[in-house]
Symmetry: C2
Subunit: 235 residues, 2 copies
């Protein structure tokens, strides 16, 4: 842990509240059309199409395509399932930008400001560069580098997503600390030699579905939030 030089962050769920942000944007666009839906449920259903869409790329069934395009396809499928047919292409495009406008969890900006003094802060997300840029400019997230799927042309948990990040940071994998709320992401990073920090995000899936905490020894560190992570890293 002492040798970590860069922190590589999962973004959706770890840095930002995707469920609340997508629900808000969906209500803004679809509510204005008179629809009355369970908005967090809409976010859950859209998000549920995320892994299958990436799996087509990971398995080589289709060439790499940026997450914005996968989100757009998934949104069109979800709207069709819901029988919502009256949106123009421009309105669907606008709703697809919901993922660019997500809010950080309350501890994120203060925690990252502390962490930035001692570490390179890199996103290692499946989000494409423009998505992460728009999110960061809106919310003030201080990335030093935007890495992840689009620079690696590979979706986590593919090995190349982690390998490319370490290579582009000019670091050994062990000098990179993967920070994520998702054990599967951390397991995949550890398999590529990264150090790992689990951050508990009890509300990612809504107030009624807190995630189970992993066993205390499964990862190199566990933190309650980014302030706790900064504290534990001495930053």
């Amino acid at each position: 842990m002492l040798e970590a030089r860069a922190l590589c962050f999962d973004v959706f769920g770890t840095v930002v509240d995707w469920r609340g942000g997508v629900a808000r944007e969906a209500e803004a666009v679809l509510g204005a059309k008179g629809h009355r839906l369970d908005w967090p449920g809409f976010a859950d259903r859209w998000r549920a199409l995320y892994q299958p869409a990436m799996e087509a790329v990971r398995a080589g069934r289709r060439p790499f395509v940026a997450l914005d395009a996968l989100h757009r396809e998934n949104l069109a499928a979800l709207l069709a399932e819901l029988g919502i047919a009256e949106l123009s292409e421009a309105e669907v495009d606008r709703l697809n930008l919901a993922w660019h406008a997500l809010d950080p969890w309350p501890d994120v900006l203060d925690g990252m400001a502390r962490l930035a003094r001692g570490y390179i802060l890199a996103s290692l997300s499946n989000g494409n560069i423009r998505l992460i840029v728009d999110m960061a400019k809106r919310a003030g997230i201080p990335w030093d580098a935007i890495l992840g799927a689009e620079t690696a042309r590979a979706y986590k948990p593919a090995a190349e997503a982690y390998d490319a990040a370490a290579r582009m940071l000019g670091l050994e994998p062990a000098q990179c600390l993967m920070v994520a709320a998702h054990p599967s992401d951390l397991d995949a990073a550890a398999a590529r030699g990264f150090a790992t920090a689990y951050v508990h995000r009890p509300r990612e899936y809504g107030p009624d579905r807190p995630p189970r905490r992993p066993a205390a020894d499964r990862f190199d560190m566990q933190a309650e939030d980014f302030l706790d992570l900064a504290q534990k890293l001495g930053a």
Copy 2:
């Protein structure tokens, strides 16, 4: 010009003073060993090996390799030419990091702070990601995205360097304004559909070799520095 959404910056010479910074670092490392050289001249000679090294990649004679590796090879060659043989590998490595520790021109930070309010600020440099990250963290340069050679796996002025930047920004080339002190870079960007802004950097090559200004109509804009650029862009 009104439609520009992102500013794509050349870095060496346009954002930072490579000659002064490399001269300072060379003096720090080699001067401590008792060498007395013309330090700006040392920087010029190292820099002179830059284009030929990249050309080997551009021409397909060798696979893509990050600029740090090219700088390291060029430094070894230059030290051999100068008959400097007593540096350890670690000392040569340290000197190679000179390019990570360059100072911005005096107008850069204030100008970019203004520009950041209205535009995505992306580096579009031949420098590798870690080099640009280290430089930015040291100097406080507020990049929104680090693009260029390593994300494109192509060195400017290759078309793919510009094409990949626009693609990763999710923008049409005409929505990207290339900002550079070098007419050849701007010509190559314009050939790929970018808008162009020439910034005059009279001291890039030292006090006695001011660059010639391009014709007034050759590029979309000309600016004296980044404050003037911000003014002309209404930022």
